[in-house]
């Protein structure tokens, strides 16, 4: 397993957002985490990325315990999060945002990689020297994913990446995810677009109220009655 989580707990004051979650992502695997609003998916990813401090549990990445490491340290090891709501830097230009993605890198290929991104997303190429604040919602999402890719991750966590993308781009996004995965990138995907997510992932977990209530191979989950029930909601 590339990433292993054991008994992870996240608390915000009195809110207990993640309750003893354990899961794993193998090298070059796409794993998806599904769940209703407020189930704790984003909190889980943030804890793995080091953006929130877990109240308990262990995070093991590539054989090493990274629970105590800072977020930048984890980025350096290749554990990268594309956060919910994009979080692009609106006071920097598009190009500078991409450069920031490669912040931790010291190699000389950054410029080439950025050109690769521009080739893939022509919207970004056309706006390379504009402030990122003027991008449309979908363009911002492209920027956020591109930026994460530039960190050369080994495991990329995507928090609702299809949010706000056009159907065409959603299709392309999942294509991209599969393609990246073929190139050896492990992906942990949180999605509301259940259909697409399960079609792309090999395994899936379903969260409810901070706990994992269901897990298994993606195709089995896709036609699981219990999953439908979890989504149709008991509330």
């Amino acid at each position: 397993m590339l990433l292993e989580i054991e008994g992870l707990e996240v608390r915000y004051g009195r809110t207990h957002a993640v309750r003893g979650v354990s899961l794993g992502v193998a090298t070059a695997e796409v794993v998806t985490v599904l769940g209703a609003n407020g189930a704790g998916k984003s909190s889980l990813l943030k804890a793995i990325a080091g953006a929130v401090t877990p109240a308990g549990g262990r995070i093991i990445f590539d054989g090493a315990d990274v629970t105590a490491l800072s977020a930048p340290e984890r980025v350096k090891r290749g554990l990268v999060l594309v956060p919910e709501g994009r979080q692009i830097l609106v006071s920097l230009t598009v190009h500078e945002n991409l450069l920031m993605g490669a912040y931790g890198r010291r190699d000389g290929d950054v410029a080439r990689d950025i050109e690769g991104i521009y080739a893939r997303f022509s919207n970004l190429a056309a706006r390379r020297d504009m402030l990122a604040s003027v991008l449309s919602g979908g363009e911002q999402q492209m920027l956020a994913i591109s930026r994460a890719l530039l960190a050369r991750p080994r495991l990329m966590m995507l928090d609702e990446p299809s949010l706000g993308l056009s159907p065409l781009l959603v299709g392309r996004l999942f294509e991209l995810v599969r393609e990246l995965n073929r190139d050896g990138l492990a992906i942990l995907l949180v999605e509301q677009n259940t259909r697409m997510a399960l079609r792309t992932a090999s395994r899936g977990y379903v969260m409810e109220l901070g706990r994992i209530v269901l897990d298994g191979p993606a195709d089995r989950l896709a036609d699981n009655e219990a999953l439908a029930a979890a989504y149709l909601g008991s509330h």
């Binding site: 990325a49 080091g50 953006a51 800072s70 977020a71 930048p72 980025v75 350096k76 990268v80 999060l81 956060p83 979080q87 692009i88 830097l89 609106v90 006071s91 920097l92 500078e96 450069l99 920031m100 993605g101 912040y103 931790g104 930026r147 960190a151």
Partner: protein
């Protein structure tokens, strides 16, 4: 980032060289006029006074432009340098007889830097913006005011509330014809200029500069991108502490006195200078500093000491209202976070 914009726009090196030559020529011309010597001296005094404001204004601009943090302890750093140096020298430290006054200044600067780092440790480090509304950004403002209280009263307890003479015994004035030019002030002006050139290059062009600007916008996102916020931010505080320290030292050399309140006046005027020039624009801080210095001396010359203060602040008030981004500022900085 307006600092970056400044570099991309007009070439500041060319502009400032032009301005400098123009100023010297104007002052020389003025001095040559019958009865113009007094006014010329006032202009020189104004520019030199502005030199002190510039350094402190740049220190302010640095934290607000880079970190979006209006650091009210900056005047205290300035004061600490002077008072600590005085305290040391008074007790004969460091131990070299004739020069110990001058030698006490570097330790003073070091203390200012350390104090600045302490401020960073307990204010910026804890700054967790949650929702991005208008007043919660006042947090650093409040805690830096807390530090203002701490440092000022520590100095009062240890060193007393009196102004003290700091007898630097070397003549540091430059007599040009009828005019007296203070060398320390000139030095502080040139030094600030040099630092500003370097800073604007750093911010606009380097990896560290981009990291700093990312932190300014969102420390959380910067962290997720791999920026070691806790390692980079202290650099800014170190720089601003250094600037204040150097400004404080030059102040001491120039005016030969120190007091626990010496930062207050310089501080408020430096803020005025920064705003006049445009928040976050380091070039603006330079122009603003010189302008405030000139406004003050000419205001005194033509309207008297009290009215001059009213003049300075009225001009500032008008400037903010009529041109809220300042002379050189971008429109974004300073609208959100304090």
């Amino acid at each position: 980032m307006s600092a970056a914009a400044g570099v991309r726009g007009a070439h500041p090196l060319v502009v400032s060289a032009g301005v400098a030559v123009g100023c010297v020529a104007a002052i020389a011309g003025l001095a040559a006029l019958p009865g113009g010597a007094t006014l010329a001296q006032q202009v020189v005094s104004g520019l030199m006074l502005g030199g002190i404001y510039v350094a402190v204004a740049v220190a302010f601009t640095l934290t607000i432009g880079v970190l979006n943090f209006l650091n009210f302890t900056i005047p205290t750093m300035f004061m600490l340098t002077g008072m600590v140096a005085w305290g040391l020298a008074r007790h004969g430290l460091p131990f070299t007889e004739a020069w110990h006054w001058a030698l006490a200044l570097p330790p003073g600067i070091v203390v200012a830097i350390l104090a600045s780092l302490v401020v960073e440790r307990f204010t910026f480090r804890y700054l967790k913006t949650r929702h991005g509304d208008a007043t919660e950004h006042a947090i650093p403002l409040v805690s830096s005011l807390g530090f203002l209280l701490i440092f000022e009263h520590l100095v009062l307890i240890v060193l007393g509330s009196d102004a003290q003479s700091f007898p630097v015994r070397f003549r540091l004035d430059w007599q040009v014809g009828p005019l007296v030019v203070g060398l320390p002030q000139l030095a502080s002006l040139l030094l600030s200029l040099a630092i500003v050139f370097w800073l604007s290059w750093l911010l606009a062009r380097t990896r560290t500069g981009r990291a700093l600007r990312s932190i300014a916008e969102s420390p959380d996102t910067a962290t997720l991108l791999g920026v070691e916020v806790t390692r980079i931010v202290p650099v800014v505080f170190l720089l601003s502490g250094l600037l204040c320290g150097v400004a404080g030292a030059l102040f001491v050399v120039n005016y030969s006195d120190v007091s626990p309140f010496m930062g207050d006046h310089v501080g408020t005027k430096a803020i005025a200078a920064m705003v006049l020039g445009g928040l976050g624009s380091i070039w603006g801080a330079i122009a603003g500093g010189l302008l405030v210095g000139l406004l003050e001396t000419l205001g005194i010359h033509f309207f008297g000491g009290d009215a001059a203060q009213v003049v300075v602040w009225t001009v500032l008030l008008l400037a903010i209202v009529l041109r809220p981004q300042g002379l050189f500022g971008g429109s974004r900085i300073g609208k959100g976070k304090l």
